[in-house]
């Protein structure tokens, strides 16, 4: 079941387009924003208001890398693994994240706090290596900076 808030936000998006299905990516993101990910039931519910079948919507949802069709942690870390970041020390940054969170790429930490995903070029090449946590971009990363950054997302602060 869609929440009222989700419904309203989707209604607003629908107004931008002449055809309902055009709003499907936005609708998926609205759901993901409020729930963290898009479940099978979620696909059914959204398909209904978009005039699509679940198959059609899922065909689009699974095309994109930033629509999560599996549960993710409370915070999603998108670490840029593309050329500039990679040249500038992606590997060290990744290793320090692996060590601190105890997870590899694609995993969610045991406490359900973080999911670590690779992302192609974040468009922050001048601050390479870079990563994004939720909506926040972090550049010029070094292993040393990790504790402070991850600390912002610690239990106490939520």
């Amino acid at each position: 079941m869609l929440s009222e808030k989700e419904k309203n936000e989707i209604e607003t998006e629908l107004k931008q387009y002449e055809h309902k299905r055009a709003a499907c990516v936005e609708a998926l993101k609205i759901m993901q924003h409020s729930r963290g990910w898009v479940s099978d039931d979620g696909i059914h519910d959204l398909a209904g208001i978009l005039g699509m079948t679940p198959d059609e919507l899922d065909g689009v949802a699974t095309f994109y890398s930033l629509i999560f069709r599996k549960p993710v942690g409370r915070h999603v870390i998108l670490i840029c693994n593309t050329i500039s970041c990679w040249v500038m020390g992606y590997n060290q940054v990744l290793r320090s994240l692996n060590e601190r969170l105890g997870i590899g790429l694609g995993d969610t930490s045991a406490d359900g706090r973080f999911t670590l995903l690779p992302v192609p070029c974040l468009g922050a090449c001048d601050q390479a290596p870079a990563m994004m946590i939720d909506n926040e971009l972090y550049g010029d990363l070094t292993p040393e900076k990790m504790d402070e950054i991850l600390g912002k997302y610690s239990w106490e602060r939520d």
Partner: protein
């Protein structure tokens, strides 16, 4: 030196508000343009030789001139800003949208008017969350101040402008895939012909332009063709937002005359190599361009000159590779990106790129075989323009083809010594 696109941006990097933008002369060009004949604007932009900043460098005015005009043209027509910016190494559109979203909006109003579009979209990549916020804020200011919507500036012209944010996938930046994405379909490219200008979004005439391209338009209208051409040091009009990233002292973005040399960019602006590193090679315009070397430092960074040097200007975003980084692993990193971002529609791209990626990985990890180079060359030849469905795979082959020549020795050493001679086989 004039830097029309960036000179008014705030030093703190925050976005110019509508008021601030208008103080710098903003929306004057739109007011002028809405009184002109659409074809007149098209001609102006064409004569200014504004070439597409999305990478292909097509003359923007010429692109517009194919759109059916007149009363019996199909409607609605669409203008779309391509702000998907996922070409590795590229971050210029982000800066333009974060720093001066109204400049883009004004460019879109004029351009939309020039093709008599009624609806327009900004197609923005998902990760640009700050840009999304600022563009959205600017849009609502623009609507509130009659810059958008019905009867803009009392001209009788109406334009809807919406922001669409995507959900990851490089292929969405390919202009025809972008149309499918906007329609809520899987972002598979379309064939050309028919060109989008004739049969685009929802089958209606559509122009897709890069964000930087459209940000130039107000300045052309405001200051004229001669002025615009005068900004450039080459045949191509205007300035260019160049970027340098990688192993340099001061990575960044600079608005400079079109045709600024690689040397100036690399040495003066980016400050040259970081201490302790030597220059090995560079990719001039995003991941899908061919490597250039030290021999090419005096090449001018404009479309024709870089082409002559054997590469492409692309997005004008240079990536500098140092001597300590293994070039095979650089190639591996690039091909990993392309393989992962293939849309999965055409065979050579979908199946060929993962093979290339696996070969490079094997070579880098010391498991290369002598005939692997032959296989890589086969891909370089067959994943080429016209043989694949869209330009993604050929783009992926540009660094590979040049890399196979340029790093021949490195390849051979990896295979013969069964290890990475740099000892830093940094595969993720």
């Amino acid at each position: 030196m004039e830097r029309p696109l960036t000179q008014h941006m705030r030093p703190d990097g925050k976005a110019l508000s509508l008021q601030e933008y208008e103080k710098t002369g903003g929306y004057q060009a739109a007011r002028t343009a809405l009184k002109m004949a659409p074809e007149e604007i098209q001609a102006m932009v064409k004569n200014a030789n504004l070439r597409g900043r999305g990478g292909a460098g097509f003359n923007t005015g010429l692109k517009w001139s194919v759109v059916p005009m007149g009363d019996d043209a199909p409607r609605p027509k669409y203008l779309i800003t391509n702000a998907d910016e996922m070409e590795p190494g590229t971050f210029k559109d982000r800066m333009l949208m974060e720093g001066n979203p109204h400049q883009l909006i004004e460019g879109m109003i004029i351009s939309a008017f020039a093709i008599q579009a009624g609806i327009s979209y900004i197609f923005l990549r998902d990760e640009y969350r700050t840009a999304a916020k600022r563009v959205a804020a600017a849009l609502s200011e623009a609507y509130d101040n009659n810059c958008l919507g019905k009867n803009i500036f009392g001209s009788g012209y109406n334009l809807e402008l919406h922001l669409h944010t995507s959900a990851g996938r490089y292929i969405c930046g390919e202009e025809t895939a972008l149309l499918n994405a906007l329609e809520g379909k899987r972002a598979i490219p379309r064939t050309k012909p028919p060109y989008p200008q004739v049969s685009g979004l929802w089958g209606k005439p559509t122009v897709v332009n890069n964000a930087e391209t459209l940000s130039n338009v107000p300045h052309i209208v405001k200051n004229g063709v001669a002025w615009y051409k005068g900004l450039s040091r080459s045949q191509d009009g205007g300035t260019k937002i160049y970027g340098v990233s990688g192993r340099v002292k001061r990575p960044g973005l600079w608005e400079l005359p079109m045709g600024t040399t690689i040397r100036e960019l690399f040495e003066e602006h980016a400050g040259g190599m970081q201490d302790g590193y030597k220059f090995r090679c560079l990719i001039p315009g995003g991941a899908s361009t061919e490597f250039l070397t030290g021999e090419h430092f005096d090449v001018k960074m404009d479309f024709d000159s870089v082409m002559k040097a054997g590469s492409r200007l692309g997005t004008g975003a240079m990536i500098i590779i140092d001597d300590k980084t293994c070039p095979i692993s650089v190639l591996y990193n690039l091909e990993h990106f392309f393989a992962h971002e293939s849309c999965g529609w055409c065979t050579p791209c979908r199946e060929g790129l993962p093979w290339v990626e696996k070969l490079l990985k094997a070579i880098e990890e010391g498991q290369g075989q002598p005939d692997d180079l032959e296989k890589l060359e086969m891909h370089g030849e067959f994943l080429w323009l016209g043989k694949t469905y869209c330009a993604l795979a050929p783009g992926a082959m540009e660094p590979l083809r040049s890399g196979l020549k340029l790093f021949k020795e490195d390849f051979e050493r990896h295979i013969n010594e069964k290890r990475c001679p740099y000892g830093n086989g940094r595969i993720f």
